[in-house]
């Protein structure tokens, strides 16, 4: 359908549109018009992705002055899904431009991912990890390798890269939508390297889909996204955990082993310098001169050597944010390569000494620096240049196997971050993991406490940033912790033709004793027994798949062991097969696969999973795979973690967010995320059981997303197990009845209805 929305022609590839999609578009358009950021919550299963794509591409068509659509996803499968939907949309849109003298508007969209997902070199792509693929690629494509190849043809280079390089400016993609797979196919056909082609085409495309990291992690973003224009529209999809992504991007952990390896890295560098001195002293001298003259980008190779394509010589950029990097010459004491290595060695020795602690130490970067100055006479300002200085050195020494040098990079990362930021960070040194106090495992954690640090350059650089997800509640907390002013904040509800969500709060067992995973209650035999009986009865009432989320792996292990002793598991097995998520990815994948098979063949199965685990974040339990999801307890974070404590303190001091508020917010968003796994479309139905008496409290319930709370009836609060079974039986029977899938007019709008809604709003404004 094609309809007018507030003066904008929108192409939408389906015959009907949900009312909430229409409203979503309206709000989104308002934000784009105002050139501001927005925060939109709309439940999953309402076609969020297609709504976003449909409106933004239509907007681009009507307003050529807006830039690219940069669509950030969390995983590669999500990325492929977005591109597939876009393809459908564009195919549909082209049909409207078939008339004589008309040609469909051209659009170029592509997905960008790491070399590991894009490489087509027969040997390189077989490498296991992302780092080793990167390193192998660099070994074949670095400028000096290719230079040497000219004189000595037996030095191997990558033919795909060479062909792309030879094609030069002619190497462009035809307009169209390219998924990662399409890029690889095209690369093979033309003999061009898909990764560098994608990087090259970034400047010319209308839509680019890539991972969060490419936008948020300054190391990657400076390399990839620096040249994106200001007018771009940036979308973060599934962004409920965006603050954690931001924090991870700026945090560094260093262990004993890292320091040891960094030490040997230095030794290798040392011998490389000696060798270079013997053979090609000029190179080192050139570098020194460059650093001394304070080129803007220290360590870049001279301009005449630079090809239009950055080859393997481009390494990750500075971990600090662009505006915080000092644009001045590297200080004298680390300009010479030998001096720099000695400096690093000193720093590593200092860290090693700090690691040798018996008790936990927490300090701010300022005290850390003061201590550093006092003990080994290292200045904070010098530390800031560590990262760039190291990158320059590696380039000068023409080192390509950068994956071996990851440890020294980590150390340099940390040095630069500590040197740059005085606020928003904490340094925590722990002698052992709290969970395993007997195993010494000292670690220095440079932990970012402020999610807004990494978001800030994105918000300030780009005109419109859209943050959206199915669960962003309470929505007013996000602007606070990300520290920005959205022009539109909106949470949408799902229009349903029937009550296909059934959230219930279970507070008591059959014996009326309270149910909770509270610390003082959770190991109580009565509570464990009541939880177990609840699951057994549920498995006799709910068909096909049930998913059950626990608050942590540890708690799951404990309670499952107890259930085994009590015979609960045996009773469960009479009705359902049991599958358990473990920390091993392969094992979990296998368990999931078998879980699905058990649901498919009618045996019925139950999946035990953990909130905040892989399954809770990325796996859907739609249709018969999840007729019911049980959230056992409130998934609070491990509150004794020092990092969390430090962050809570920072949030309280900086943003005036109470500790308990943040903890409850974080726990409830996790449980909303867990229970949301069960509904993936409007035709679906499922029960959501919040099994903890603490959900009865208003401060928890009110933090749930609106689309859940509207279905949370009074009659479904404060239930005991037997009442729950009654509710479940009625719900399952009711939902099995045939219903009118279409219900046009109520939950679906036709083209005319959409247009008339537009007319109505226009009249309302006038």
């Amino acid at each position: 359908m094609k309809f007018l929305l507030d003066g904008l022609t929108v192409h939408f590839p389906y015959e009907y549109i949900y009312p909430e999609q229409y409203r979503y578009m309206l709000e989104l358009k308002r934000a784009l018009d105002a050139r501001g950021h927005c925060l939109l919550e709309m439940p999953t299963g309402t076609g969020k992705t297609i709504t976003l794509l449909s409106l933004i591409t239509s907007y681009q068509l009507a307003h050529p002055e807006v830039g690219k659509l940069v669509y950030c996803t969390r995983t590669v499968p999500e990325m492929e899904k977005v591109l597939a939907e876009l393809k459908e949309l564009i195919d549909y849109r082209s049909r409207y431009f078939q008339g004589p003298g008309q040609s469909p508007p051209q659009i170029l969209a592509l997905g960008l991912s790491s070399r590991k997902n894009l490489c087509i070199h027969p040997r390189v792509q077989e490498e296991g990890s992302r780092e080793s693929v990167d390193a192998k690629c660099r070994r074949l494509t670095a400028a000096w390798v290719r230079e040497r190849h000219v004189s000595a043809p037996d030095i191997e280079v990558c033919s795909f890269f060479e062909d792309l390089e030879r094609a030069g400016q002619d190497a462009v993609l035809d307009p169209g939508i390219y998924t990662l797979h399409d890029m690889r196919v095209l690369g093979r056909k033309k003999g061009w390297c898909p990764y560098f082609l994608a990087r090259h085409m970034l400047a010319f495309c209308n839509v680019v889909v890539y991972n969060y990291q490419y936008m948020l992690d300054p190391k990657v973003a400076n390399m990839v996204s620096r040249e994106l224009e200001k007018e771009c529209i940036v979308v973060f999809d599934e962004a409920h955990n965006i603050d954690n992504v931001c924090i991870e991007a700026l945090s560094v952990n260093i262990r004993q082993q890292t320091l040891n390896l960094a030490g040997s890295n230095i030794t290798r560098l040392r011998s490389a310098i000696d060798k270079a001195k013997a053979t090609d002293a000029q190179r080192l001298k050139d570098e020194y001169n460059r650093l001394w003259s304070g080129l803007a980008q220290q360590g870049h190779l001279p301009a005449q050597n630079r090809s239009p394509l950055p080859g393997g010589e481009d390494t990750l950029a500075n971990p600090a944010l662009p505006q915080d990097i000092l644009q001045e010459a590297v200080p004298g004491n680390i300009r010479r390569a030998e001096h720099f290595l000695a400096f690093l060695r000193r720093f590593i020795e200092y860290l090693r000494q700090r690691l040798n602690v018996q008790v936990v130490e927490t300090e701010t970067p300022a005290t850390f620096l003061a201590n550093l100055q006092e003990k080994v006479a290292i200045e904070g300002k010098t530390l800031r240049f560590c990262y760039d200085r190291l990158a320059s050195l590696l380039k000068t020494l023409e080192i390509t196997d950068v994956d071996d040098f990851t440890p020294i990079h980590l150390v340099a990362d940390m040095a630069t971050l500590v040197g740059t930021y005085a606020r928003g960070f904490a340094i925590i040194i722990e002698p052992y993991d709290d969970r395993l106090p007997s195993v010494p495992d000292p670690v220095i954690q440079l932990s970012c406490l402020d999610a807004s640090l990494a978001m800030k350059p994105v918000f300030s650089k780009f005109q419109s940033v859209v943050i959206t997800s199915g669960t962003l509640s309470p929505i007013d907390l996000y602007p606070k912790i990300l520290n920005f002013n959205p022009v539109v904040i909106q949470s949408f509800k799902m229009t349903l033709t029937r009550d296909c969500l059934c959230p219930v709060v279970l507070t008591r067992g059959t014996d009326q004793m309270p149910l909770s995973t509270k610390f003082e209650m959770r190991s109580d035999a009565g509570v464990v027994h009541n939880y177990g009986r609840m699951l057994v009865e549920l498995s006799a009432t709910i068909p096909d798949g049930i998913v059950c989320f626990f608050v942590s792996y540890l708690y799951m292990d404990q309670i499952v062991a107890k259930w085994h002793d009590m015979g609960v598991l045996q009773d469960l097995m009479a009705y359902k097969l049991l599958f358990i998520e473990t920390q091993d990815v392969v094992e979990t994948t296998l368990a999931l696969d078998n879980f699905r098979r058990a649901c498919d063949c009618g045996r019925g199965a139950m999946f035990f999973s953990v909130a905040r685990g892989k399954v809770a974040e990325g796996i859907d339990f739609d249709r018969h795979y999840g007729r019911c999801v049980v959230m056992m307890g409130v998934p609070y974070q491990y509150t004794l973690s020092r990092i969390l404590r430090a962050r809570l303190e920072y949030l309280r001091e900086t943003f005036q967010i109470k500790e308990s508020d943040f903890l409850a917010f974080d726990a409830v968003r996790q449980s909303a995320q867990c229970v949301g796994r069960v509904i993936r479309s409007k035709a679906d139905y499922g029960m959501m059981i919040f099994a903890d008496k603490r959900y009865q409290r208003h401060d928890k319930r009110d933090k749930l997303p609106g689309w859940i709370t509207t279905h949370l009836k009074d009659a479904h609060l404060n239930l005991s197990t037997d009442m729950l079974m009654h509710v479940a039986r009625e719900f399952m029977r009711g939902m099995a009845q045939p219903y009118d899938r279409m219900a046009v007019g109520r939950s679906l709008l036709t083209e005319e209805q959409a247009n008339s809604m537009n007319a109505a709003t226009a009249a309302g404004l006038a």
């Binding site: 106090p437 709910i542 068909p543 708690y555 359902k576 491990y638 500790e659 208003h698 009442m723 099995a736």
Partner: protein, 446 residues
Amino acid sequence: MEEAGPSQPRGWDQQDPEALIDDQDPQGEEAADLSAFQREYEDDHSWEQLQEDEHGHLRAIDMREEQRAKRKRLLSAAMSARIRRGMIRYLQVVVDLSRAASIQDMRPNRAAAMASVLVSFIREFFDQNPLSHLGIIIMRNGRSERLSELSASPEFHINKLRSNLDAGGDASLMNGLDMAVDSLKAIPSYGHREVLVLFAALSTCDPGNIQDSVKSAQQHKCRVSCIGLAAEVHICRLSAQETGGTYGVALGEKHMEELVMGHAPPPPSRAADSAASLVRMGFPQRRPEGSDSMALIGKECTLLSGGFTCPRCLALVPELPSSCHVCGLTLVSSPHLARSYHHLFPIKPFVEVSADAVTQAMAAPNTQQRLQANDSSIWCYSCSSNLIQPDEADNTEAGVVVRCPDCGLFFCYDCDSYIHESLHNCPGCEAVGTEERFDDAVKMVE
């Protein structure tokens, strides 16, 4: 939120891990919430929808809604007129008597509820499909048992079913399906193969891959329909979908009965499934009744008088319709064939009319439906009950009023269902037809 046990050494201080979490127990909310639950689920004042009339009969306050719902079902059957139907059906009823059948959410329990519905279904089935055969398979203890072979005598099935109702163990849908499909495989191509599964359990414990069984059912053109007793089970829906059957979940005993009875009229047949073919049938002679004609009759050799003689092999069979136990010939009587006929040409659904329309029609002169010229009310054409004003003596509410689209006469709800369910002829059309024919005849004579 993991904790090291309190006895284990802790790095820095002995703090309560949940000190920061503000988790006091809610107060004052509980009582209110319980009453909400009771309102929704427990206070089912079903008696409030009834009222007692002066004769002490209980009547529903508003029966129109109920009547409309029932009409809807009838209509959907009537709407699909002129559809090719499988008249000669071979139906295997698969009954789940697993552990789940002893659950008491239906009274007295699911197994008994299923049995009582099935008894009336079997009678209705043979009444509507005199040319068809039925067999019963039960699923119990992970196995399936053949309770009765495919045959055409309702009482035999009913007796078998009544004596076998103890439930236990797991259900295996695969075993049940395999057994049903196995027995239906051998049916000649004119027969319509059907399986009706009554599934009380929510899971099936199978020895192999049930998807293969569904495929084989599909290959052998068996139409598998399922009726669940508790909730939607994916595999049931899948097998119904793949084989062109229907799937329903019962809300209660009443709804289960409706769902099961929905399988009594013959289902539409797919043209590709059964090629038109001639079927050999015998129309046996009835033997005289009386003590002098006593003979050992039928497969069981019971001493009876009466019975029928197979025209081909002259064997004696006790009842019709059946197949001859000696030569296997299908034995029917001509009324049986005639009774099957109405499924092919059902009478049109009657249209519901509002009270206003009835009043208008009444105002028009020459309305046929007045008993007397001075009568101000309008009467059901078939039973002569008053359609507008409730009968004073009877004190009944006015029900739904319907009108035949062909003859335009009004009928009451009860007559509507009687006409569509049992009579299969519109009295109005028949009468008009006779009058016209009579008029024509008069004209010709003149």
